[in-house]
Structures are given as structure tokens and as C-alpha cells.
Amino acid sequence: MLPENILEMVAAGDNMALRMFYEHYKARVYNTCLSYLQNVEEAEEVTQDVFVEVFQSASRFLGRSSVATWVYRISVNKCVDRIRYKGRQKRFAFISSIFGQTGEVIHDQHVFEHPGVKLENKERSKMVFAAIKQLPENQQTAFILRQIEGLSQREIAEIMDMTEKAVESLLQRAKANLRKILENFYNDNEGNKS
């Protein structure tokens, strides 16, 4: 349990408070980043950026939402920024490769295995994570926060700055899209085996 004035202590640069704050939120931030980016190194880098921003802007926190909501919002924004940046890099490398420059097309085909998945689900979860990557940005956010972080629709609505109804509809669309992606995968692979 964090003290009520933890953010004031963090803003004042109290090392003990920084450590306490980090210990309290590290799993939530890192797990969100890892689920988004599906890469350990990148998730650690973005987690660092999230905490640096949180620590540096603690004095500006207005208390309009809970601290957890604020931290999640920063985490989601940083992950989205990183994904967009990677997207731009890929497009640039692709264009460069067309014009014969040194840029290489970055293939991001690695299979991600989340360390928190139960052993018996490891193989199947790889397909879910691959499918999550194909969802639109806001559907990814809603799905990760609900299914992996286990947040309520109300909490997600606060983080994403939308109504609970909108979150509910986003989650429904995310699940429907995931189902479609997995069905296509089944048709292409599993269906041919039988």
C-alpha cells in the first residue's frame, strides 16, 4: 500500500518514494508494454520511459483520475508511440529497399511467448498474441487492458477517455476480429491437417 502523499514525495525526488512507486506499479506497466510490443527489450525500454515521465511529471498530476489510471494512460500512449514509430521505420526501410538504398526491410515475424501464460496454454497463446497484433490500435488497447491486465470496463473507459458503452463495443469488435483472424488461421493450417 502506497502512502497518500506518494506523488508529492516522488515530485520532491525522494529516492525511497521513487523505489516504492516503482515496485508498486512495475508489473502493471511492464506487463502492459510487453503485451503491446511483444518484445522483452522494447518493453523494458518503454517501461523505463514511462517511469521517467511519471517521476518527472508527478508535480503536474492534477488528481482528476486515480494514479493507476494516469500511469496506465502514460504506458498505453508510450506503447502506441513506439508501435507507430516502428511502423514508420518499416515503411521507410521498405521504400529505401525499393530505391536500392541500404535500408533493409524489417521483418517482424518472431513468435511471442508471454511469460505469464500457463504452461498448458503456451502454444495456443502464441496464436492469440499474433492475432492481437493485427487488431486496430484502440481494439488492441481495450483487449489487452481487459483480458491481460484484468481491468474493469470502467477503468478502461477512464484510461481511454471514452464511455463504458464505447469500451464494451470496442471489446466486442476486438473479440469478433480475433475470432475471424483465428478462423482464417485454422482454415489455412489446422483445417488442412484433417
Binding site: 515530485a11 525526488g13 521513487l18 508489473a27 517501461t47 523505463q48 521517467v52 496454454n121 496464436m127 483465428l182
Partner: protein, 102 residues
Amino acid sequence: MADKAKNTWVEGVMGSLQGIDRALPGDALFSKIEQKLEAGLPVTKLVPIRMVTYAAACIAILLVLNLTLLKGYKNNATHHGDNLNAVIEYYGLTNDEGGFEL
């Protein structure tokens, strides 16, 4: 039959995230964050940009108000002098040296 197998498979895959635990970062991450903080601006000395903006806006408003008031005061003073001279002239209150007689 094939559809049933497909649905069962999809349900199974979708359900594979049930009971997932949160992943934890490496132990060295906090010291990396500390290093980043030390490399950047000291946290305690940060002045929020919003505060700076407000302060700049307040100074600008005060400056404009002061200038406007000063201009108005100057104009008023000139008008006031003109009116007084007109009254002095009208009633012939001036003497030979140009001063007025009471």
C-alpha cells in the same frame, strides 16, 4: 462437423489467456531508470511548462493593461489641459505675461 471442430479450436485458443499472470521486468530496470533520471533534468528542479506559460501570460496581460492605462491617462491629461485653456481664454483670465489672473 468441420465447423464444430473449428469453433472448438478457436474457443480453445481464445481461452488460452485465462489465468495469465503479470510478467515482471528484470531486476536491473530500476537502476536504469535512475540513470536516465540523473542524465536528464533533476526531478526536483522541474518547473511545469503550464506554470511557466501562466506566468508569461500574466506578465503580458499586466504589461498591456499598464500601457493602456498610461496611454489613457496621457490623453486625459492633454484633454483636461485643453479644456482649462479654453475656459481661461473665454473669460479673458490671462494677463500680459500669459499667466492667468484670479
